[in-house]
């Protein structure tokens, strides 16, 4: 029976189950709607504010995707630099750790001051948040190329540039993929935190506004849309990675 459930139905069933539990909880406990709205009012808010939510999603999505792209490119360049230049490694490593150690929340007000209240500060926040995972994962992958493959390439008289392009890079792609998956999961956080600190658009901004106006149903609606956006983005990136990494099989099913 389980086998015949289509793959997309399973998350739908889970979602329906969660909504059911939420409704039950709200009804049984009598929590006031300004603390926990019930599913129908959130659904109503989703419908009535659909234009605002759609527009805000575009904003937050753009910030997230831009942050992901720029952060990934920068991170990859840094990883390549660090692997091939011990000097770069020495100078960049502390900066890298710093970018990870300082919580983005603390930097957010500064970034908003420096980059303004528009998209730029949110993109910078997203970049900062994903920079370390991408760089760390990719440089790790580049460093751990199978010795045998490199030896073989050397006996075939490959130049160092060829070794990088045809051996190290493809071999490091699975590690890069893990870094990218983590980055995709956390990039929305950077965008939303940036919006909380100073903005005029986006899902984080809508949530902040709704919270202050005690429109908890709108806040939940924005939260749900944000979750859906983040999940969709992640699934998209995951699918693309799986196609690119067709040769690195998932061995988890093997005992």
């Amino acid at each position: 029976m389980k086998r015949h459930i289509a793959p997309f139905l399973r998350p739908l069933i889970t979602l329906a189950g969660l909504v059911g539990i939420w409704w039950l909880l709200q009804w049984l406990s009598g929590i006031p709607s300004y603390l926990l709205p019930d599913p129908p009012s959130v659904a109503a808010a989703l419908w009535h504010q659909r234009d605002l939510l759609a527009w805000s999603t575009m904003t937050t999505l753009t910030e997230t995707v831009l942050g992901l792209l720029i952060g990934t490119v920068l991170g990859s360049i840094c990883a390549l630099g660090m692997v091939f230049s011990p000097l770069m490694q020495r100078w960049l490593m502390p900066l890298l750790l710093l970018s990870q150690a300082i919580p983005v929340f603390a930097l957010a007000p500064l970034l908003v001051l420096w980059f303004g209240f528009g998209m730029a500060s949110k993109v910078v926040m997203a970049v900062l948040i994903i920079f370390f995972p991408v760089t760390a994962a990719f440089s790790d992958g580049l460093r751990r190329t199978e010795i045998g493959w490199l030896d073989l390439a050397r006996t075939m008289n490959a130049s160092p540039a060829s070794m990088l392009r045809y051996v190290r890079l493809p071999a490091a792609l699975p590690a890069f993929g893990s870094g990218l998956r983590v980055a995709t999961a956390i990039a929305p956080i950077g965008a939303v935190v940036g919006e909380w600190v100073g903005a005029s658009a986006g899902l984080g901004y809508v949530m902040l506004n709704a919270n202050a106006r005690i429109e908890t149903d709108v806040m939940f609606a924005a939260l749900l849309v944000l979750a859906a956006m983040a999940i969709t983005l992640w699934v998209l990136v995951d699918r693309v990675l799986r196609r690119v990494l067709f040769w690195a099989p998932d061995t988890s099913a093997i005992a």
Binding site: L35, L113, F117, L208
Partner: protein
């Protein structure tokens, strides 16, 4: 902003044998300790709470929108919020009532740097206006802009989330609302920037109480509140007569707030304190409710009796 630690002020006045233990009250402030709440700090420091047999715990929140909800949920007895916010809370069924007023004039204003492009409110057309509290302040700003003949859609509103001074100084916005006439103006001046204020009550907004005390509807008649108001009244009266001593007390308890700038803000605040905090101005509350309903921020103006009560000061009762 970043989470703040809980602020505890417990009075342990030595009690003569036979006195009752003090009644406790938890108050959530509207923001970090600042001169707006002077009567509370003085009531604690100079013993007015103790004299009325109250042990009052003051908590500073991490953001301004949570205090009323926290009080409504029962985690605190009293919260400080804004009269305009009270109508929003009521419209969403949050069971809070105003029982006393802390500051009975508006403090909010739109400010613009004097050297900048905004010389009148009409100049806001096609410019950027920053604000900190979504909801009510947007309505205030829009009313003020409309009174100058500008369509609110022609002004870009940006949430600067309490970084008002920095936003103005870096010229990210042309003007901001959420600047208090007893606070941000002086801060800007201290940073070498002069600014011109525009007051809501002069530009299309009815006068209102900036800071009020609210409590759960069920607690409205609680005898502790009467004593609270009494202590507050005495503390305010004392403050007006001993402003510098009062600031010295405040600076001693909160050394981070002991600068000359804060002293200036302190002095600018005193004249705005409500000297009869428990008194309710029915007409004012009715008018403002009608104003918000007309601006469609709330569906209908509530009955004043549903959202506000008058509280008589009651003498405390610790044996002297």
């Amino acid at each position: 902003m970043i989470a703040r630690c809980l602020l505890t002020l417990l009075l342990c006045l030595p009690c003569p044998a036979g006195a009752r233990a003090a009644d406790t009250l938890t108050v959530i402030l509207d923001w970090l300790p600042n001169p707006d709440e002077a009567p509370l700090f003085i009531a604690a420091h100079e013993g007015f709470f103790a004299r009325h047999n109250l042990a009052v715990r003051l908590i500073a929140p991490s953001d301004a929108s949570t205090p009323p909800i926290v009080a409504a949920a029962g985690h605190a007895d009293i919260a400080i919020t804004y009269q305009p916010q009270l109508y929003l809370l009521a419209a969403h069924g949050v069971p809070l009532v105003r029982f006393a007023t802390l500051i009975n004039t508006p403090l909010d204003s739109i400010i613009a740097p004097t050297g900048g492009p905004i010389k009148t409110l009409g100049d806001l057309k096609r410019r950027t206006l920053g604000f900190a509290v979504p909801g009510v302040e947007e309505v205030l700003a829009q009313a003020m802009i409309a009174s100058a003949g500008v369509h609110p859609a022609d002004v870009r509103l940006v949430n600067v989330n309490f970084q008002i001074v920095s936003a103005l100084m870096t010229r990210r916005v042309d003007a901001t609302i959420s600047a208090y006439r007893n606070k941000e103006i002086y801060e800007l001046r201290a940073h070498g920037m002069d600014a011109r204020p525009f007051f809501p009550e002069e530009h299309g907004v009815p006068a209102y109480d900036e800071l009020i005390f609210v409590t759960r509807r069920g607690m409205a008649g609680d005898p502790r509140l009467g004593r609270f108001v009494a202590a507050l009244q005495e503390s305010t009266a004392w403050l007006l007569d001993h402003p510098d001593q009062g600031f010295a007390d405040f600076a001693a308890d909160y050394p981070a707030q002991s600068s000359q700038l804060v002293h200036t803000q302190w002095n600018a605040t005193l004249c705005r304190l409500d000297k009869s905090p428990g008194l309710l101005d029915n007409a004012r509350y009715r008018t403002f409710g009608a104003f918000l309903a007309a601006k469609k921020l709330i569906p209908a103006a509530p009955e004043v009796a549903d959202i506000a009560v008058q509280t008589e000061p009651v003498s405390g009762g610790a044996a002297p």
